[in-house]
Amino acid sequence: MSSRQLFRPRANTVSRIVVYGSVPLCLVAAAWSIALARSSWRTQQDRFVQQPVPFSHEHHVGGLGIDCRYCHTSVETSAFAGMPPTQTCMTCHSQLWRQADMLEPVRRSARTGQPLRWTRVNDLPDFVYFNHSVHIHRGVPCSTCHGRVDRMPLMRQARSLAMQWCLGCHEHPSPHIGAANPFDPAARPAMALGKHPRAVLDSRGDPLPRLLECSICHR
């Protein structure tokens, strides 16, 4: 049998990296996957999507100052805020920008009766039951979840919409509610204006922990 070394000295380092490095490696992998779940790649946050018509909230809300409810009619009464029917667009655009190519899909829809097909931007999983009306009624400003749409030339998802994010408010609702006019893009919750909405909530609704229960959002 050879009496020569089986391994070169370098092998020591290699083997130590392999043995002792395995543990940190696992941790890094875990951290990476945890980070990935929060990345915008996963949550689709701040991603722009192709729409049939490049509708600009910045122009209509910020510029013209049209109220949210003009298009999203059921936001105060229903779970679903509502998407404007073609008619709503045509109330103005039968007069304004009648030739604009940009608006051709709208006019076609009005002509043929074939609806516009928008791509959902703020999309919750089917097993989550979010209700707009009750949040509006509690005075949660639209901007809390949708961001400053009056500054969005194209619509994008302003928040991660992860459960963690929902719970952020549901755990401590007080700082997020009681806005005088939730529809004002610049609306701010009561607390930010020095009022105390905690009382507001209790006088109206359930004890706070209720808001963390599964059955509030899942059915």
Partner: protein, 450 residues
């Protein structure tokens, strides 16, 4: 004591002969036809296993024989059975080490391997049985965007931790035991490739006496940790059942009952493997009749505890006067699966008694058959516990049962295939007997003589 120590090994063995002979099994021994036969058959079964798992994942657990009320079927039976088999290894290596039982030396290595493979397979079944296995990680405590954590009151979570800890610790224990022998193989290996492989796995072990000192200490401490662990594992498994309110599950005797059952089936499996191994690789000098005799005694004592547990269950049911408990027993004895119940009793309470006879304990063929028969009966015992309990529990209107499907069989036989497949590989590539401990034993024997 001393008399024992001597008689464990056949006399006349030296460091050199032991070292050469055992390492030769791995390094120089030509591949035998029996081994190939075993290997191919078990590999084939392992493929069946993989197929069945894939199908169940892709189509649903509905492929197996389960329903409401019998929502836990063969997979759970298999978990309990395999985990039981996974007990003997650690017991032999850890507890007997603490008890300074020299006879463990020749069998602990492959018993530990057996433990790891069995526990690993046992660990797979809970996931096979999950409705949505792709979400298994919900059981892990990790920071997630739902801010949810495991529900720590659930015995299933305890299980998850117990089994994974058990597997990890067993692997550590086993690997540490291997290190000096890997060094031995490194030094005996003829080809460069094998030298490099064993050399790397040996982590550069050079037998320094200072290393040996720490090595021994940690080995003892690991044994000390593994001992309560091995007892805890099957106790925790038993809690899956014991903490429920199902008649036939809800019973305080379960933890010792399950541990004893585990030892019984575990030792059955050790014997089942030891016999052919010994024959095939001429290990008679190292695995002697005495080993079998002792293992048989362990089986017997464990078996008696199991019988006692049966008795306690019967007594409690009768003495409590609880109609549901009684109904459960009536169902076991006369219900749809009564035959299995009686087979279980006949074998585990009846046939087992043969082990009182020394003739039986020392006759290898008889012991071998007994081991296999009892192990089967132990599987049946788990079947009786898991399935016949919810089959007819509180509300007769909800009673019902369901019978197994091809997939249940495929998963059971397949898992056996995988197990023996891994054993074959182990036998071929690693020393089946702890070489350095044999050397130590020889050394002690010499000291005795001088």
């Amino acid at each position: 004591m001393s008399a024992e120590r001597v008689s464990v090994l056949k006399p006349g063995e030296t460091y050199a002969s032991a070292t050469d002979q055992i390492s030769a099994l791995v390094l120089t021994e030509p591949t035998r036809r029996t081994w190939v036969l075993f290997f191919v058959t078990s590999a084939a079964l392992a493929v069946v296993y993989l197929y069945a798992i894939t199908a169940v994942f892709a189509i649903g657990v509905g492929l197996m024989g389960i329903n409401i009320p019998v929502a836990w079927g063969w997979p759970l039976v298999n978990v309990v059975w395999w985990i039981g088999i996974g007990h003997a290894g650690t017991l032999i290596s850890a507890i007997l080490l603490l008890l300074r039982q020299p006879w463990r030396t020749s069998i602990n290595r492959f018993a530990e391997a057996m433990t790891i493979f069995a526990a690993g397979i046992a660990g797979m079944f809970p996931f096979i049985h999950l409705g949505r296995p792709w979400y298994f990680y919900f059981l892990l405590p990790y920071p997630n965007t739902m801010t949810l954590w495991p529900q720590w009151r659930s015995p299933l979570v305890w299980d998850f931790f117990a089994i994974s800890t058990y597997i990890l610790v067993s692997i550590l224990f086993w690997y540490q035991g291997l290190i000096p022998d890997l060094a031995t193989l490194r030094d005996r290996a003829r080809t460069r490739r094998t030298q490099l492989i064993y050399g790397f796995l040996a982590l550069g072990w050079r037998g320094s006496i200072r290393h040996w000192r720490r090595y021994e200490t940690v080995y003892l401490l690991l044994a000390g940790l593994a001992t309560p662990l091995v007892v805890s594992v099957h106790s925790v498994i038993s809690l899956d059942f014991a903490v429920t309110i199902v008649p036939g599950y809800h019973s305080t005797i379960f933890p010792p009952y399950f541990v004893a059952g585990a030892l019984l089936s575990g030792f059955c499996m050790v014997i089942t493997i030891a016999v052919p191994l010994r024959r095939a690789f001429r290990l008679e000098p190292y695995i002697t009749e005495r080993h079998f005799d002792v293992m048989a005694k362990v089986m017997l004592s464990a078996g008696m505890v199991v019988i006692y547990s049966y008795a306690v269950e019967l007594f409690t049911a009768w003495y409590s006067g609880d109609p549901f408990e009684r109904g459960m027993l009536v169902n076991r004895a006369l219900g749809p699966h009564a035959t299995l119940f009686w087979i279980m009793l006949a074998v585990n309470a009846g046939v087992l008694q043969l082990l009182w006879l020394k003739r039986v304990r020392t006759s290898i063929p008889m012991l071998f058959t007994l081991a296999i028969v009892i192990n089967t009966a132990m599987w049946i015992e788990r079947y009786v516990i898991v399935i016949t309990s919810t089959q007819r529990d509180y509300m007769p209107s909800a009673w019902g049962t369901v019978s197994e499907t091809h997939y249940d069989w495929a998963l059971l036989l397949g898992s056996l295939g995988l197990f023996f497949f891994l054993m074959c590989l182990f036998i071929r590539f690693l020393p089946v007997i702890s070489i350095h401990e044999v050397r130590e034993l020889i050394h002690e024997q010499e000291e005795q003589r001088s």
